[in-house]
């Protein structure tokens, strides 16, 4: 009995240590799944890569001064500019958005979007665009810009079916490198059968820039801005704002209209305190969004920041209460960041894993029963207007 008691504790100790080692080794091979929520890169400022890209984009040089003009001083030497930014509307309050289409398409998030698009079009979407427009949207399109009354695409458009477009448009040369395509009224009948059913003017500049505006005057303005004949201050988007895969500026009044009506106080505070919103999205891996709200400063903007912060917190609680765990997690990463100069940024992070989960559910679009034709099968460049 005494011998038994003598060995009781050592045996128990040995058993405990063995059991402890076994318990602690269990599952050790499984690496902890790290949450990447706080590692999403937010585009708060331009990076070295962005500066390099900006440098490469400066392909437009101003024309030499007319003969007889005195040469400019060294500090007044004309500098090369980015043609797309030059072509955008002038003025702080104009809205303009630029999508770095090529960079986006080659990013993990972009690849997911392309994959989803292909799934929805049963794998034929990109091929159709190539066949009908003569360009590969993943390779030939560099950037897409949108503003209040126009859109612009940069890239390489040698393969674009210009001849086919010319058949249905009046073609005029404009400026040094521009061509304007105005729709022939008879080529675009109205719904009642009369002529003049389209007024969209297509502009082409040196096979590297293509734009669509709603009038010939607007098209000429774009060309004039592009070739330096029209100068009236900084453009709506300046070079220092051109970073990320998606960037732009939005008039606060336009954006305010998108606010839900269930919180009129927030909408009112936003419209009163904010002037414009500068947007940047980084999609190099995850998707990080920073929307900087700018305004005249003072108490108004601070109140907007507080209201937006509260709205995000409430939305998160509501999403959690409604059982929408994905949305709740997304809103958990949202924050309002106030700057010392009174501006504030709304920051949102979408981890790639979140996007993968959401975009993996892309279902193919239902097949349409009608015969395949240009109107139903995709965009027809000749009939674009």
């Amino acid at each position: 009995m005494d011998t038994r008691r003598r060995w009781l504790w050592p045996v128990l100790a040995g058993a405990c240590f063995a059991l402890a080692a076994w318990l602690m080794l269990r599952g050790e091979a499984e690496q902890p799944s790290e949450r990447r929520v706080d590692q999403v890169k937010l585009p708060r400022h331009a990076t070295r890569d962005d500066f390099e890209r900006q440098e490469q984009r400066r392909t437009w040089s101003p024309p030499p001064p007319p003969a007889g003009t005195p040469p400019p001083r060294p500090d007044e030497q004309p500098v090369a500019r980015d043609p797309l930014l030059l072509a955008l509307p002038i003025g702080r309050n104009s809205s303009a958005l630029v999508v770095e289409a090529n960079a986006l398409a080659n990013s993990p998030a972009g690849e997911l979007l392309v994959q989803c698009f292909q799934q929805r079009t049963r794998g034929r979407g990109l091929e159709r665009v190539k066949e009908q427009m003569g360009i590969d949207p993943l390779k030939d399109v560099d950037r897409v810009a949108l503003w209040d009354d126009g859109a612009m695409v940069t890239g390489s458009f040698q393969g674009f079916p210009w001849d086919m477009i010319a058949e249905r448009h009046e073609v005029t040369r404009y400026g040094e490198g521009g061509t304007l395509y105005r729709p022939k009224p008879e080529a675009f009948p109205r719904a009642d059968g009369g002529p003049g059913g389209a007024d969209l003017v297509v502009g082409r500049w040196r096979d590297q820039l293509l734009f669509f505006v709603d009038s010939e005057e607007a098209a000429k303005e774009v060309m004039d801005r592009l070739e330096g004949r029209l100068q009236g201050g900084p453009g709506s988007l300046t070079e220092d704002m051109a970073y990320g895969e998606f960037y732009g500026t939005l008039d606060a009044k336009d954006l305010g209209e998108l606010f839900p009506d269930d919180d009129p106080g927030l909408k009112e505070a936003f419209l009163k305190g904010a002037e414009r919103v500068v947007l940047h999205v980084d999609a190099a891996r995850d998707v990080g969004l920073v929307a900087e709200v700018q305004g005249p400063g003072g108490e108004g903007l601070g109140d907007v920041a507080k209201s937006l912060g509260g709205a995000l917190a409430l939305a998160r609680v509501k999403a959690a209460a409604d059982g929408d765990a994905d949305l709740a997690e997304l809103l958990e990463l949202a924050r309002v960041n106030r700057r010392p100069d009174g501006r504030f940024g709304v920051e949102l992070a979408l981890p790639l894993e979140f996007l993968q989960k959401r975009l993996s559910q892309c279902e193919p679009a239902p097949e349409r029963p009608t015969a395949v034709g240009p109107e139903e099968d995709g965009p027809d460049p000749a009939a674009a207007p």
Binding site: R5, L12, F17, M24, G310, N337
Partner: protein, 277 residues
């Protein structure tokens, strides 16, 4: 019941020690200072402004519970590592004091079994550490809950978890004191288990840095037996912060560390049962 009496005796003894009075006063001072100097403006559940001693902290406006996560994570790490270091230093003297010639004979002459004496001491120290951790973490959770309306008791759960880690360290200290009656040696061994336990949590990463062969095998074999204190600390911080513990073997690790503490206590009991005084 005898175990509880021994534990209560230890708590009475601790109450008379300056270390623990200082700890209690320190935690109270921090909580009162925070209570009086921390100003938080909450709009619709989001913290829109924070001021500590009148100075603005941060510019972010976020949901109160999300904004407070880093605070709770920091408190959990402080409770775990800071509390453990404090515990090692301040509790190293209890067992050697109990084993002092004259006192141990007097204790053994009472109607109390040896194992009850040892387990009572262990339970007393654990109760002491638990009280301090709960007072600190719970007090902070209550304070921030009152100020922001975001109530959470996850920091309290994290504090409970940190006790599992300290149990392993103190059980080892108690066992060592029975082999060599010295507060400093006991503290030294406690410190060694503490450091080795932190390393054990990173054993896979550390092993990968070693050349394959006998060294790595030996390293793996030795560290497999050590309590994973750093893993427990990470789990405790995650629990306090978001409530989502990503350590997949979490329940196993907690159970493993607790069983390891029992094993060390058994070594102490074996020594105590056969030691002549």
């Amino acid at each position: 019941m005898t175990v509880l009496h021994v534990a209560l005796d230890l708590l009475r003894e601790a109450a008379s020690r300056k270390w623990f009075l200082l700890l209690g006063a320190g935690i109270t001072l921090v909580l009162v200072s925070l209570g009086l100097s921390l100003r938080m403006e909450v709009v619709d559940g989001a913290i829109s402004a924070t001021r500590l001693f009148g100075k603005s902290l941060g510019n972010d406006i976020r949901s109160a519970d999300v904004a407070l996560r880093p605070v709770y994570v920091a408190v959990a790490y402080l409770t775990f590592y800071g509390g453990m270091v404090f515990g090692i230093l301040s509790c190293s003297d209890f067992a050697p004091a109990m084993l002092t010639p004259g006192r141990i004979e007097q204790l053994l002459s009472l109607p109390v079994r040896r194992w009850e004496l040892l387990v009572g001491t262990f339970v007393g120290v654990m109760a002491l550490a638990l009280g301090a951790a709960l007072y600190g973490a719970g007090g902070l959770a209550l304070l921030l809950g009152f100020k922001t309306g975001a109530w959470t008791f996850k920091p309290v759960l994290a504090a409970l978890l940190s006790m599992t880690g300290f149990a392993a360290v103190y059980a080892c200290m108690l066992a060592v004191a029975l082999f060599l009656r010295s507060a400093s040696v006991s503290a030294l061994f406690g410190g060694m288990v503490f450091v080795a336990g932190i390393a054990a949590g990173f054993r896979q990463e550390m092993a990968a840095a070693l050349d394959e062969g006998a060294t790595r095998t030996l390293f793996n074999a030795v560290t497999a037996l050590l309590p994973r204190l750093s893993t427990l600390a990470s789990a405790s911080a995650e629990l306090a912060g978001s409530g989502v513990v990503t350590v997949r073997s979490f329940p196993s690790v907690v159970a493993g560390v607790a069983v390891w503490a029992l094993g060390a206590l058994c070594v102490g009991l074996w020594r105590f049962e056969h030691k002549d005084f």
